[in-house]
């Protein structure tokens, strides 16, 4: 195909347009909760702890330090790093470790999954590890109990490499058009034998079968405390071609993350007298949140907190005395 034809095809596919990356915080710039956390063993510390929108899910005895790193390929400022601190060289059958990213169904409608017009999607990312070999990427269609996986290989030790993987269209099982979790993407780092015992999906969607999820050659990143794994520049886009990573400003990426999690830092919000028997404060979230969130606080004087279905604010209150909150966090993660 000529360059002109390639360009025309790219424009026609929509891939040449801006805002094509379905991943939020793919450059690992935003880390509202902190920059380092201990994860493992046996699920301890899993969930969202460091870089926004990326969570760990695990079982088994491997332990790591999960952190935001400044070790990056050219053109990036941050990566996510997993540094194994307790190894397991003999995995149980169902042990696993995934670094995850979740997607709302309403943000995936352009894929056309479950229709005759379903489209391929291409994942690209930069990865680096001393542990060379085969790794697996897994997609989990939560709405329809379907999965798909592909493998990639880290060829050179301690060298940033860009990988791209294209998942075929799936004409079965549409994503629900709402604000709930519809798709998970799992970067598989550890997988016991039970997850590798079947026929690997290898790019073709199918029903959820445990043994088909992971490539049989998947390495065990958790087999040595010398092992480290870095990732950044994660992009998921429509089509068969991995386009250059779509860099966004820090502010743009932060606002996208705040739809799922936001917090104050030294805000010290004071309430006002609402009536003769109630003092009330109403901190505003920076952006409208995905769902009515769960609120936690650090410090302050108040008797209760109530969330608001507007997803824009919450209330804290106290009886006939003044009230305040030092800091708050609001969690509407998938």
């Amino acid at each position: 195909m000529s360059k002109a034809a390639e360009l025309a095809a790219l424009i026609g596919s929509g891939q040449a347009q801006g805002d094509r990356n379905l991943i939020i915080n793919g450059a690992m710039q935003v880390a509202q909760r902190g920059t380092s956390a201990t994860v493992g063993p046996n699920g301890t510390g899993e969930g969202y702890t460091v870089v926004d929108r990326f969570s760990n899910s695990l079982s088994g005895s491997v332990v790591s330090t999960f952190s935001q790193s400044t070790d990056t390929p050219s053109g990036f400022a941050n990566s996510a790093k997993i540094d194994i601190t307790t190894a397991d060289t003999s995995l149980g059958g169902t042990e696993f470790w995934h670094l995850r990213h979740g997607f709302e169904g309403q943000n995936l409608q352009l894929i056309g999954k479950g229709t005759s017009d379903a489209k391929s999607i291409t994942l690209s990312f930069y990865v680096k590890s001393n542990k060379t070999g085969v790794y697996t990427i897994e997609l989990q269609d939560v709405d329809n109990d379907r999965r798909n996986s592909l493998a990639y290989t880290i060829n050179n030790s301690n060298t940033w490499e860009r990988k791209s993987l294209t998942f075929k269209p799936d004409t079965t099982g549409a994503f629900t058009n709402d604000n709930n979790l519809s798709l998970r993407m799992n970067f598989v780092l550890v997988a016991g034998a039970d997850l590798k015992s079947g026929t690997f999906y290898n790019g073709t969607w199918g029903s959820d079968v445990l043994g088909n999820r992971v490539d049989s050659n998947q390495v065990n990143l958790g087999d040595s405390t010398s092992n480290e794994w870095y990732i950044t520049g994660v992009q998921l886009e429509i089509g068969d071609v991995a386009t250059p990573f779509e860099h966004r400003s820090f502010g743009d990426e932060l606002a996208r993350c705040q739809r799922y999690y936001s917090r104050s830092t030294g805000q010290n919000v004071h309430g006002k007298q609402y009536n003769s028997s109630t003092w009330l404060g109403d901190p505003q979230y920076p952006v409208t949140m995905r769902a009515t969130p769960s609120v936690t606080t650090t410090g302050g004087q108040y008797s209760s907190i109530t969330t608001d279905t507007s997803k824009d604010k919450f209330f804290f209150s106290r009886g006939s005395e003044s009230c305040y909150i030092n800091d708050w966090a609001a969690d509407a993660e998938l």
């Binding site: 609402y274 969130p293 109530t306």
Partner: protein, 60 residues
């Protein structure tokens, strides 16, 4: 993967006297959970209520 450990739950009413929030402790962290099926903490609370392992106390 761990299941959330939820050790208490109580409805909290808003200024209109309507249950709007659940005060709860999840994995040793006190939080105020919005009553919204799309909230993962609320969904887990209701799953445990349905399983008979958790009861939500009425508002004071």
């Amino acid at each position: 993967m761990n299941e959330m450990t939820i050790t208490s739950a109580q409805y909290i009413t808003n200024l209109d006297g309507v249950n709007s929030t659940i005060k709860t402790t999840v994995d040793d962290v006190q939080m105020w959970v919005g009553i919204d099926p799309a909230n993962r903490h609320y969904a887990e609370i209701m799953r445990q209520v349905a399983a008979g392992t958790l009861t939500i106390e009425d508002a004071d």
